[in-house]
């Protein structure tokens, strides 16, 4: 066990715990008796807070572990999360402020609230809510996986209960302050998380390459390592540059994921908790700064390839997810490795908190209130959300401790595919109400089924199911991201059925929103309250 590293790690976890509890009083929290206060931080976050919150949301500990791991394992293809961010933000620029505005006007807390109001369909709202909850649960579990990989490298790899104890403690603390402070807790802790992450990545990227003989040498070493045949498959494990075969996969992974990035429940929470539509738009311009950090971080996967002791330790553990933690462990002084591990640990807590709040909001609003207790007063609604946030975290813990890691990873892959199937109702729903609610529901169902089955049947020599997020297009064609194929099918069904239903004059339901609710002027009239302090 490495005591200096562990000491620093424990210090930061305790530090953010204190912050988490204090956050309840931040920005006039008061009693936190409404879902707006507990689950959205009072909808008062300005540009800077939202930047940290959204960044803390979208760039998670798992991202920081998994992206370099993907680059380590398969080379260029693992770099797709860089274009993914860059493509997503123009979309956020256009849709985000409108979504914020209409949510503010009608008090929507979740994306499913919006869909229900827009299309006058409780059932479509339920579909969106269930999709969101299903997609986010494995994502929370993966935050734990990210934290676990750091704990493993720090030497906390005993057996049974002793091994799980640190994770249990960290999560119990997280659950406690999320319960009492709501969204204010991760918003405040995100400052710590990002300061640590930026510090670590910048130091790593400026210090480590020189130690390993410079970039030219690192890319060369990575190239020859990737070209060696993988013992399991007999084929090279990857390439340094995408080729004719993988260009499609690369582009569609980026495009498909970018469609869903901000309708993931936790990102939606980040958007509607902003104080103004302008705040959201400004953030769509400023957030790509995170992608730059992520790009540099991704390259650490190659540094891990180029460092012999790290590469062989990763090979021995048969777990590329350890690439970055082991690289830090081998090449950085212990005290600094401790800071790096703390960054990843805190980086797991922030999104796990936001995600569990988002899942709780969805359950409370779109299942509990919509179906079980329509007359629930605000106070009861908030109470339910708080309890659900605990259950969600407990569920994620059971997942990670009770099942193999690969289950969470497979489900997260599925989650990504599923969320994209709600794009027509949410993203396109912001722009147009042309689609019929039943057509949207049918398209969603088709996309979900196709995506799930295709991912399930994706196999490789080492994995019978869920081997890859990409699959060849039906019949013949290039290999592309499954979510995007499912999305295209979803759209085809939605459009075709909309035409049919309109011809049949099927009831379209009522739209409780009006065009003015999405606009800039509506926003200005609404945002009279003084909240944007940053």
């Amino acid at each position: 066990m490495r005591s200096p590293e562990l000491g620093i790690f424990a210090f930061f976890v305790l530090f953010v715990t204190v912050l988490g509890f204090l956050a309840a009083r931040w920005r006039g929290g008061g009693e936190l008796q409404t879902l707006d206060e507990w689950g959205l931080g009072g909808r008062r976050f300005g540009t800077a807070v939202t930047w940290f919150l959204l960044g803390g949301d979208l760039y998670t500990a798992y991202t920081f572990i998994a992206v370099p791991a993907a680059v380590f394992a398969s080379g260029a293809l693992g770099f797709w999360s860089i274009p993914y961010g860059a493509i997503a933000y123009p979309l956020l620029f256009v849709i985000g402020p409108r979504l914020w505005s209409v949510s503010q006007r009608h008090g929507y807390v979740t994306a499913a609230d919006f869909v229900r109001g827009r299309f006058g369909s409780r059932l479509l709202g339920l579909a969106v809510a269930v999709t969101g909850i299903l997609a986010i649960m494995p994502y929370i579990a993966l935050q734990l996986v990210g934290m676990q990989s750091v704990l493993t490298v720090m030497g906390l790899s005993g057996t049974g209960f002793a091994r799980d104890l640190p994770l249990l403690i960290a999560f119990a603390l997280l659950a406690a302050y999320t319960y009492s402070s709501g969204l204010r807790a991760p918003a405040l802790i995100a400052f710590v998380k990002d300061t640590l992450i930026y510090l670590v990545v910048l130091v790593a990227i400026f210090v480590l390459p020189a130690k390993l003989g410079g970039w030219e040498h690192i890319f060369g070493a990575a190239q020859s390592a990737l070209a060696k045949p993988n013992p399991a498959t007999g084929k090279p494990s990857g390439t340094l540059i995408t080729g004719a075969a993988s260009n499609w996969a690369y582009g569609t992974l980026a495009l498909g994921s970018s469609l869903a990035i901000f309708i993931y429940p936790h990102a939606f929470t980040g958007i509607v908790s902003a104080s103004r539509g302008e705040t959201v738009r400004r953030n769509s311009v400023l957030i790509p700064a995170y992608s730059l950090i992520l790009g540099l971080l991704a390259l650490l996967g190659y540094l891990a390839r180029a460092d012999h002791s790290t590469a062989s330790a990763v090979a021995q553990a048969k777990n590329p997810q350890l690439a970055v933690p082991l690289l830090f462990e081998h090449l950085l002084p212990h005290w600094f490795a401790g800071i790096a591990f703390a960054a990843i640990g805190v980086g797991a807590l922030v999104p796990a908190a936001i995600m569990s709040i988002a899942a709780a909001n969805l359950f409370t609003r779109n299942i509990y209130r919509a179906y079980l207790r329509p007359t629930a007063p605000d106070r009861e609604e908030t109470k339910v959300a708080k309890i659900v946030s605990l259950l969600v975290k407990a569920g994620a813990l059971v997942f990670v401790l009770g099942f193999s890691q690969s289950l969470s990873i497979n489900l997260q892959l599925l989650g990504g595919i599923w969320v994209v199937q709600t794009v027509p109702a949410i993203v396109l729903g912001v722009l147009t109400r042309w689609f019929h609610r039943w057509a949207l529901l049918a398209g969603w169902a088709v996309g979900m089924v196709y995506g799930t089955l295709t991912a399930y049947h994706s196999s490789s020599p080492t994995q019978a199911h869920f081997a890859s997020p990409t699959a060849p297009l039906p019949f013949s064609g290039p290999t592309v991201y499954i979510a995007l194929t499912a999305f295209v099918l979803n759209m085809l069904v939605t459009v075709a059925l909309t035409l049919v239903l309109k011809a049949l004059r099927a009831s379209t339901g009522s739209d409780e929103t009006s065009p003015a609710d999405y606009g800039r002027n509506a926003v200005q009239r609404q945002s009279g309250r003084s909240g944007d302090t940053t």
Partner: protein, 72 residues
């Protein structure tokens, strides 16, 4: 007078739209950057090109932001 203002507004909107689409096209046109050379500071083209475009994306989006913001 009002009409003139309106058309100036829509020109700015179209221009902002173009600025937003440029990075999307640049990144989705994968074959245009899926190559190793020319290298810069040891980085293969594939990597430095995509990192550079992140910076360009921020600049373009910033310009789009000011285009639509000043229209009030």
């Amino acid at each position: 007078m009002l009409k003139e203002k309106r058309s100036g507004r829509s020109v700015r909107h179209v221009l902002a739209g173009v600025l937003l689409i440029v990075p999307v096209v640049a990144y989705l046109w994968v074959p245009s950057y899926a190559k190793a050379s020319p290298r810069v500071a040891g980085f293969p083209f594939f990597y430095w090109w995509q990192l550079l475009w992140l910076v360009i994306t921020v600049v373009l989006m910033g310009a789009a932001y000011f285009l639509v913001r000043n229209e009030r």
